[in-house]
């Protein structure tokens, strides 16, 4: 039988490193907020003729939109994000582009006022918070017959924060390199990941609950390890089936749902990882009261790896 719990500090180290990279990236690049959260206008234009990316950017700059973000999204299709455009500004912008690059079709146009953007950002924040609190309460309740049920809830929430931090970190890197933005679909994806992450954690916890009741072993660490091994193929198989559909979404639906699909993709992987290697291991650490030992272990681990 695999010994998973015995290597718990290694898993903490791996997660710690990944999250640290993410936090460094968050501190350097930050997150690029989409118009839903920071107001402005965005449009997707389809040009009939071939248009060069740099020429389009220069033309926009010469029209006064120096900070406009321009991205090619397909054959002759460009995503353009500007400050909030009024009716006249938009008409004159499009007329100028038609005069320069020939006929175009406006495939999409969105415009969000600052008031709505602030409101949406706050609501998204509250939603994430409410989801976390709701889950904490439910898991504490569901494990109420266990000794210290609050631990289960807390460990599930820590695993969930772990997953959210990884997703945010990756998106901050993607934002810094590829100008990816955090939009409403991103938040929807993050909430889905929260649900998914906890879903996985609960399955493992459920098995721990069952094995504890059955009295498999007096040693908590062994009970957790057995439970993890027993649920391992389920965890991997479910993640696999979900990954299959998310990949299908990403590959076939593409640009418009890209943020959402990538959040799910990262979230499913890290959600599976955290349910096995973080949430349950934290339970063991908490049970044994060995919070300090991780730090003592760290220099040893480094010495070993050298």
């Amino acid at each position: 039988m695999f010994d998973i719990t015995g290597k718990r500090f290694w898993f903490f180290l791996i997660s710690g490193v990944v999250i640290l990279i993410g936090i460094i990236s968050l501190a350097t690049f930050g997150l690029k907020a989409g118009i839903e959260f920071s107001s402005g206008s965005m449009m997707t234009l389809s040009f009939e003729q071939e248009v060069d990316h740099d020429e389009l950017r220069q033309e926009l700059a010469s029209l006064g939109y120096t900070n406009a973000i321009v991205q090619r999204t397909g054959e002759g299709d460009f995503y353009i994000r500007t400050v909030t455009l009024g009716t006249e500004e938009k008409t004159s912008l499009e007329d100028a582009l038609i005069a320069r690059f020939g006929n175009l079709e406006e495939a999409e146009f969105y415009s969000v006022s600052p008031m709505v953007a602030t409101e949406t950002a706050w609501n998204a924040f509250w939603a994430v918070l409410a989801a976390a609190v709701g889950i904490l309460l439910y898991i504490t309740w569901a494990f109420r017959r266990m000794p210290s049920p609050f631990r289960y809830g807390t460990c599930a929430i820590v695993a969930l924060l772990h997953d959210v931090l990884v997703v945010l970190g990756v998106f901050s890197i993607l934002g810094g390199i590829l100008n990816w933005e955090i939009n409403l679909m991103f938040i929807t994806g993050v909430l889905a990941v929260i649900g998914y992450s906890v879903n996985n954690t609960v399955v493992v916890f459920d098995r721990i609950r069952e094995n504890l009741t059955k009295g498999v072993s007096p040693n908590f660490e062994i009970v957790v390890n057995n439970s993890l091994v027993e649920t391992l193929s389920r965890s991997l198989n479910t993640s696999l089936t979900t990954l299959i559909v998310v990949l299908a979404l990403l590959l076939f639906v593409g640009a418009s749902i890209q943020n959402f699909a990538v959040v799910l993709l990262i979230g499913i992987i890290t959600g599976t990882y955290s349910s096995i290697f973080i949430a349950s291991q934290l339970l063991v650490v908490w049970e044994k009261g060995e919070w300090g030992r991780f730090l003592q272990w760290l220099p040893v681990a480094k010495a070993k790896s050298r």
Partner: protein, 502 residues
């Protein structure tokens, strides 16, 4: 095979047949799956209303008026709703001219009739007269209403009103204008005062009974709007006509100024002493303008203006949306096929049964989407596709449990029951956390302006997970039980490829 199981099978098959029929044929008046704006294309606008201590019901009236205007354009299934306390949401599926949509919605449509102010000698008053000797009172002291000065195009330049401190000039938004600034511009502008009936009521669009586009009968045919007053409006109009008619011909004093949202759209001369309740609004209009104007007047004026620009604007072209539908169907079908392949290879016979349950799942969920109905957006389809991946989770949980029981040497029948019973608590608890998230997403969707993606995802994921619990537990179990007691049940390799090796 127990009698109960056969009954369950019959019910499941009946449900399956019902779901297929519901998808193919119109049922309960639902012809098609309802698709969101991002899939069919269209315009989505959210406005904030400007109301000073808004009267209750004003917004509801505004919603009705906007709906009347839009209905005349023949948009199918438009959504016009009050959102929160003071917002109005407008969704026009299939209508992709966002500027036309904005014109249609945001114009207040307040029609009023005005006449030229006269001084003591009976001559018309101009802006220059007011500016010359910095007056503190109106020329026509009996008329207390606001004066409007317009430029050559009819657009308002200044509004003149009186308060305790004297006369005050403001612009359209109500900001004060400096007198010196006004002196720099054109000043030979007529002073337009409200035109009132003998009882002092101002003539406005509120007294209209009918307004329709029409063409002048004359040498050169020109588009115009024919109007019909209600009884009171007819009397007021004739009061005014009687007063203005005897003036000198061609003099401005004989004009009646027709103002739409403070803009002078026409200023015809009164050439009859009485019109008996009907008339026409002539001017330099195109046919489109006349149709728009008639629609505005017929629908009535908004009780309060809308703030421009809108809080939120969204336009998606129809071609883009159609592409999304094709792509997401492809993604869904490929996803389902791959999952079925995986399940059959990994779990053998139970996997095959779970795949059948998955087909049943997809059909039932789509049928529910159509019947409820759920508006499918791109994110909603994302939620559905994701739920397909998660739908097999319950089966995976159960089958893993079954394998353990089979390895422990139980018979198939016992293993099935134990597998389902033991997996239940995990299925329940894990799905409830997903429901909590769906609830939070639904709340978020209710509280934000650009709600469609969030709401769509929350609904489809919720329905998907709920139905998956049913199909994974009831359908798969019923199908599996069919094999209990048959010779197939002895061939454990069909149920778990690794049993022999462990």
């Amino acid at each position: 095979m127990t009698r109960r199981n056969i009954l369950a099978l019959v019910i499941i098959l009946a449900l399956f047949a019902f779901a297929i029929c519901a998808l193919i044929y119109p049922l309960f008046g639902r012809e098609e799956l309802r698709l969101g704006l991002d899939l069919v294309g269209g315009v989505h606008l959210v406005y904030e209303t400007v109301s000073e201590e808004g009267k209750a019901g004003d917004i509801d009236r505004a919603v009705d008026i906007i709906r009347t205007r839009i209905d005349k354009y023949g948009v199918t299934e438009p959504i016009i709703q009050k959102q929160g306390e003071d917002r109005i949401l407008v969704q026009l599926p299939g209508f992709t001219d966002i500027e036309a949509a904005k014109r249609l919605v945001e114009q207040t449509g307040f029609l009023e009739f005005r006449q030229v102010e006269l001084n003591e000698k009976g001559n018309p008053v101009y802006l220059s007269d007011y500016l010359e000797d910095a007056r503190s009172n109106f020329f026509d002291k009996d008329e207390k209403g606001t004066r409007i000065f317009v430029d050559e195009e009819g657009n308002p330049i200044a509004f003149l009103s009186k308060n305790e401190g004297g006369l005050i000039y403001t612009d359209e938004e109500g900001n004060p204008i400096d007198i010196e600034d006004l002196r720099q511009g054109p000043t030979k502008l007529l002073s337009w005062i409200p035109a009132r009936g003998d009882d002092g009521t101002q003539l406005t669009g509120g007294f209209l009974k009918e307004a329709s586009p029409s063409i002048t009968t004359g040498i050169t045919a020109k588009p115009e709007v024919a109007i019909e007053w209600n009884e009171e409006g007819g009397i007021i109009f004739d009061d005014i006509a009687e007063r203005l008619y005897p003036r000198l011909s061609e003099s401005p004093e004989r004009c009646i100024g027709i103002f739409l949202d403070n803009t002078l759209i026409s200023s015809p001369q009164i050439i009859l002493p009485a019109y008996h309740g009907s008339g026409v609004i002539t001017g330099n209009f195109t046919i489109e303008e006349v149709e728009h104007l008639a629609n505005l007047l017929e629908s009535g004026a908004l009780p309060m203006p809308l703030q421009k620009p809108p809080l939120y604007e969204e336009m998606v072209s129809a071609t883009l949306g159609a592409g999304f539908i094709d792509m997401s169907i492809k993604a869904g079908v490929i996803g389902i096929i791959l999952i079925m392949l995986f399940m059959v290879i990994y779990y053998r016979l139970p996997g095959l049964l779970a795949s059948l349950a998955l087909i049943f799942y997809g059909t039932l969920v789509l049928a529910l989407f159509k019947l409820i109905p759920v508006t499918l957006t791109l994110a909603g389809i994302g939620g559905f596709v994701l739920s397909i991946g998660m739908a097999v989770d319950a089966n995976v949980l159960i089958f893993e449990r079954m394998k353990e029981e089979l390895r422990a040497g139980r018979t198939l029948g016992a293993a099935i029951e134990a597998g389902f019973n033991r997996a239940w608590s995990a299925i329940r608890d894990s799905n409830i956390t997903t429901f909590i998230v769906c609830g939070v997403l639904y709340w978020l969707g209710k509280n934000i302006v650009a709600s469609a993606p969030v709401m769509g995802f929350a609904l489809t994921l919720f329905i998907g997970v709920a139905v998956s619990m049913f199909t994974a537990i009831v359908v798969t179990r019923t199908l599996l039980r069919l094999f209990v007691g048959t010779p197939l049940a002895k061939k454990t390799a069909l149920f778990s490829p690794y049993i022999g090796r462990v």
